[in-house]
């Protein structure tokens, strides 16, 4: 069966001054895929994420998401269109509760009318519900209903990811593993089609890593996601990814199934040359 191409990176180059962080990068992600992006430190993996999510505008090339050219769009547009991410160093809203962290991710559905037009133009379901929420929330006209609906959706999500018990805890008070999970939950609350995970297993013990792998597979099926994953823990990458893309010095040096990549001499050289994964 022919699968829809969810994300297409076409010849993307990202330069900072003279430094080429990512060069001539091509990648296709198909619907429902779970793909790993690996490479030594400083290979430009996170830069790829930043280009996809609009934090950087690529110097050259195109980013196409479900047929929509999203190159150079601001991050909040891209999130509304359906790409969500987590961060390498956890970036939760520490002073807010778990529930509030998730609710923040629904806010764009009240606001992003411009991004919504792009969605509609390309024949997708609109996500914005009604308009004038700013005034409605001040005057409390029809706002309580909206608030209840958002809380209900947040509760359902927290139920699915098994964080309900911690809903009213401060995010910064959660144990490390739970914070990682909450970051994923918060990304899911934006209702993405594509999820970008930046080193989700960093700092976890083997047992937690094991659980995380199950969790990632589970959310992909439950939420119908396509997932792109940066990870240093080879057990995770080899264990759950169907395809792997290997980067070094901003370029793709190898791609294929876990078995193919593992046996590629260029990959071995990149890691050994780097010295840190010998």
């Amino acid at each position: 069966m022919e699968r829809e191409t969810v994300l297409k990176l076409d010849n993307v180059t990202m330069q900072f001054g003279g430094l080429v962080a990512v060069g001539d990068f091509d990648m296709n992600l198909e619907d429902g895929e779970l793909v790993g992006l690996i490479g030594p430190n400083g290979a430009g993996k996170t830069t790829v994420f930043n280009v996809i999510t609009g934090i950087y505008t690529p110097t050259k090339g195109k980013v196409i998401f479900r047929g929509i050219d999203i190159t150079g769009l601001p991050p909040h547009y891209i999130t509304h269109l359906g790409i969500a991410r987590t961060f390498q160093n956890i970036r939760l809203f520490g002073d807010m509760t778990v529930m509030e962290n998730v609710l923040v991710s629904q806010h764009h559905k009240l606001e992003e009318r411009h991004a919504d037009k792009i969605l509609q133009k390309h024949g997708f379901e609109p996500k914005v519900v009604g308009k004038g929420w700013f005034w409605k929330s001040i005057l409390k006209l029809g706002y309580f209903e909206m608030e209840r609906r958002m809380i209900r959706e947040a509760e359902e999500l927290l139920e699915k990811v098994e964080l309900s018990d911690l809903a009213y805890e401060k995010a910064s008070a959660l144990p490390y593993g739970m914070q990682r999970k909450l970051e994923i939950a918060r990304a899911l609350a934006t209702e993405p089609k594509l999820l970008l995970l930046d080193e989700p297993a960093a700092g976890m013990n083997p047992h937690e890593t094991e659980e995380l792998m199950e969790f990632i597979k589970k959310i992909r099926d439950d939420f119908n996601l396509t997932i792109l994953l940066i990870e240093h823990d080879m057990k995770v990458v080899m264990g759950i990814c169907e395809r792997i893309v290997v980067m070094d010095y901003g370029r793709i040096i190898s791609k294929g199934t876990p078995a193919e990549v593992r046996n590629d001499p260029k990959v071995v050289e990149a890691y050994l040359g780097d010295g840190s994964y010998a």
Partner: protein, 303 residues
């Protein structure tokens, strides 16, 4: 007024003079910002305090003027050291905005302390009561007449800046300062007494501000508790223009700002009342388009 060559040269001299004073104050801002990423709002008030020290050194303790000035500069340095110890050191690990708020509080504290102790009425810092009349003599150079004071101020400014550059680049403590400004945690691990070095940075920056204040008062002979506010802000702007965190940048920014201000007023006297606005407009433009200033290193947050 027609702009003739002598008038232009006259303004040029004034521009260099004002610029040098801004540079002296700006260096202190820049050094502290370079190390702690803190806008030390109290810096302008140390400038004011230093001037008062000199004033009372002469009038109350009857010291010879030069000794009073040296004592006042040392006093300003000690004051800066104490401000850091009391108000900023306890907040090193707090959010940066907390130190900023405390710095604003410190600034108001010093101003009101000056009002309480020294009184709110401006005092005259004019010769011969404070310093010899010799300095206000005019020198005729070609068709330009320049006060001896101008040369004195420029000379002292140059000496202090040379001393500072020697200190930062040629001494162990200077090296530690530069190390701290790159990476405070690693420098501490290297066995450097970070708190002491930060304290010395404050002391030196404040001593320069004190010297700046005294020279400022020699030029504009009026000492009052709020005299530090505007020069302080301007010097900060100068530091930003040059690239905050860089000593050369602070000097460049100071001279540029002083020159621009004097020249604008000279060429467009209609707008003299708006003089203080120019500085802020320059600041805003610089921050919009080149926030790292002319000589500053680019700082970007890693995502």
């Amino acid at each position: 007024m027609r702009m003739t060559l002598p008038i232009f040269l006259q303004n040029l001299a004034n521009g260099i003079l004002l610029g040098g004073l801004y540079a002296l104050i700006a260096i202190g801002y820049s050094m502290v910002y370079g190390i702690l990423r803190l806008i030390n709002f109290a810096h302008g008030d140390v400038f004011m305090m230093g001037t008062y020290f000199a004033f009372y050194g002469v009038t109350l303790f009857l010291l010879p003027w030069w000794l009073a000035f040296v004592v006042a500069i040392i006093g300003a340095g000690i004051l800066g050291f104490l401000i850091d110890r009391i108000a900023y050191k306890p907040l090193r690990n707090a959010p940066r905005i907390s130190s900023l708020i405390t710095a604003i509080g410190m600034s108001i504290f010093l101003e009101s302390l000056a009002v309480v102790i020294f009184g709110g009425i401006p005092k005259s810092f004019a010769p011969p009561r404070i310093y010899p009349k010799f300095f206000s003599k005019m020198l005729q150079i070609g068709s330009v007449r320049v006060q001896i004071l101008t040369f004195f101020i420029l000379g002292i400014t140059a000496l202090l800046i040379i001393f500072l550059i020697w200190f930062v680049y040629k001494t162990k403590i200077g090296m530690a300062m530069r190390a701290i400004s790159t990476d405070i945690a690693t420098t501490a691990l290297m066995g450097v007494n970070v708190d002491l070095v930060i304290g010395i940075t404050f002391a030196i920056g404040s001593a320069l501000a004190g010297a700046g204040g005294i020279l400022w008062a020699m030029k504009y002979p009026n000492v009052n508790p709020y005299m530090g506010f505007m020069p302080g802000l301007k010097a900060f702007i100068a530091a930003v223009i040059g690239g905050i965190g860089s000593i050369q940048g602070a000097m460049l920014g100071g001279f540029l700002l002083g020159m621009i201000e004097i020249m604008l007023v000279a060429f467009l006297p209609r707008f003299a009342g708006y003089r203080d606005i120019f500085a802020f407009i320059i600041l805003i433009i610089i921050l919009m388009y080149k926030p790292s200033g002319i000589l500053g290193a680019k700082l970007e947050e890693k995502v």
